[in-house]
Amino acid sequence: MAWTKNVLRVNLETGSCTTEPLNMTWAHDYLGQRGLATKYLVSEIDPKVEPLSPKNKLIFVTGPLTGTMAATGGRYSVVTKGPLTGAIACSNSGGYFGAELKFAGWDMVIFEGTSPKPVYLLITDGKAELVDASHLWGRTVWETEEAIKKQHQDPQIRVAAIGRAGENGVLYAAIVNDLHRAAGRSGVGAVMGSKNLKAVAVRGTRTDAYQVADPDAFFTAVDAGKKVLAGNGVTGQGLPTYGTQVLMNVINELGALPTRNHRDVQFEGAMAIGGEAMHEKRPTDGKANLVTNGACFGCTIACGRISRMDPGHFSVKDKPQYHGASGGVEYEAAWALGAANGVSDLEALTYANFLCNEDGFDPISFGATVGAAMELYDLGILTKEIVGFEIPFGSTEGMVKLAELTAKGEGFGREIGQGSKRLCAKYGKPELSMTVKGQEFPAYDGRGLQGMGLAYATSNRGACHLRGYMVSPEVLGIPVKMEPQATEGKPAMLKAFQDLTAVVDSSGLCLFTTFAWGLQDIQPQLQAACEGDWSEERLLLIGERIWNMEREFNLAAGLTGKDDNLPPRLLKEAAQTGPQKGAVSKLDVMLPEYYRVRGWTSEGVPTDETRVRLGG
């Protein structure tokens, strides 16, 4: 039905590509995408495996609604053990790649081992082959996609590739598909690079690969869902117009915009790098940074930013390859490349963002690591001699230079590429690393938004806004308004968000639909697409089961409740300005309650009772 029921297993060691039937029992217990691939991963690898070793596996996976007319039904995920965190890594991406994989007839591709030489996987419907990629090694994501399409003379081939960041072991290297959509976080691209796998190229033309179970009910549910998205202020207007960048000024005014490695919670340059600024005509060339908005496959929201830089900007002056339109900054990227290190030059952020897409690395972790480096520089621990140039807070040139060096693994870029935890530890200031479980924070301050602090601390893949987006209740009032500084009810709300998010991430849909959709909007779409019973209760149970499965993997990998923590700065150094002035994170109040609502022990381990209840 909505699954193709086919898994492609690629042994990179031997070069074999084999087909096996999808484990439908698991599909019923874990739905698809994030849940299903994680089930495969945890069943097949030793949790203690070294993430960049041949024994780790890398799974590309779609959901049952991927490649359907459900709004945003084009997502895929990459699941592996993450090198940045040593925890489960699951990065979700849009674009067109995921749907194409379904069209070709695959729910999932599992990569095992390491190839003796660089290769890419070419999938043409039922046919899969590993192709020599020696000529592509050392080339960017963009060059790789272009070369593969040209080689096979098919502009419709969809490509997910790593750039030089993934090849050079940047621990937050991304896998980029369709030029500027990325499975961005946790270093899934580094795992791909460690396997000598340059790209996955797919062309799918099958009409018999999968089907929705009840077409009439499906279209009724899908059409209803689209109406809700179109009528909602966030998904119908805010996101198409401003993208996620709609948040920049909102979060700044709220006093929850981490600035200069979380020294501050408000950024004086926020206006200059936000969504509104992208619409403004530049004084230099009279054109706006934003060209238009673009959609991922099947998406009726279209939040994607397509930007064109000022060709006279110092960063691209003699580089015409960056003068065309390409993926512009989203909120998290603008924050990380900008506020996190005090840079307020939108064009420079756009350039750095282009580089992140072009060479495949996560702008959040990169920008946040630059922020940490700038603080070390500010403290005199890093110097011009060590770095090679000056990197005070606010240095546009410094940020840009580091962006240019990082993917290539050149100079100080090699250290930036290891992430903020390793950087700060190396220079004797581990407390300055703004990370959880080794992964850098995104763009919300855990002091300003108490729920987000808890979400970061408990996220299974390290600090992340996409595992339980407490910004919704704490800022936007979705589904109910919760005061930013309140703690009461937040653990339970967070659990509900985390479980629901796990369902959405396993369905093939984009999490952004949940600005407008509740489970009551999603459930009928899944019910109509998939055979069997997919009640709301069952879906939430699946979400909780997925969350606990990820938790169990992390515990087996060696993480403990002690890793559910925040850096001391957020726990001790109070916010200095804005509405949240004086606040620190009250994690100690919320975490025990969170463990309780999760059915975990006080050490953060699922109780036997919980394990039995969740089954799977």
């Binding site: 007319m69 749907a99 009409t207 018999d208 198409p240 060209v291 673009g294 959609a295 998406c299 009726t300």
Partner: protein, 158 residues
């Protein structure tokens, strides 16, 4: 009043709902590769251009067909491929100077937009009104037909 598909690339976001709708209408699957309307992406220009048959008066495909497998639907003005009659010789695919009639290896036949009997699925599915089905006078179809006009051998007779 006969209606035509009106395409406004400025409004297109590249979501491909139109391609899926077309594929569903004709194949009962969401396979965009089978769509008769294609969205072309111009990455450097930041532009998406949906493109399909304009049902041109010259009907190059219809007139070139050696086995009379393409007919005019008088109700909609669409040129329609009669699948059972089509032998798959592909002459129409090289005769159409717009590139909008294409061979489908899976069926061994050619396919083109048939306006879905007057209720185009692509227009219905488009979330941004980049594709609409409107009275022909409104479409500014002239622009799309410019090329046909340039080589229109009928001009001399007019």
């Amino acid at each position: 009043m006969q209606k035509s598909l009106h395409i406004d690339p400025n409004k297109c976001t590249g979501c491909l709902q139109c391609e899926m709708a077309c594929s569903w209408e004709n194949y009962r699957s969401f396979t965009t590769a089978k769509s008769r309307i294609k969205v072309f992406s111009f990455h450097e220009a930041g532009r998406f251009v949906p493109y399909t048959c304009t049902q041109c008066d010259e009907a190059w495909c219809m007139i070139a067909c050696p086995v009379d497998a393409i007919r005019l639907d008088p109700a909609t003005g669409a040129k329609i491929v009669l699948e059972p009659t089509c032998v798959g010789c592909k002459v129409c695919t090289i005769a159409c100077p717009f590139g909008t009639i294409n061979y489908v290896a899976q069926t061994g036949k050619v396919q083109k937009c048939d306006l879905c009997d007057g209720a185009p699925a692509c227009a219905k599915a488009c979330p941004t009104a980049a594709i609409t089905y409107v009275d022909s006078d409104w479409t500014g179809l002239d622009k799309m037909r410019q090329w046909a006009g340039k080589t229109d051998t009928n001009q001399a007779t007019a």
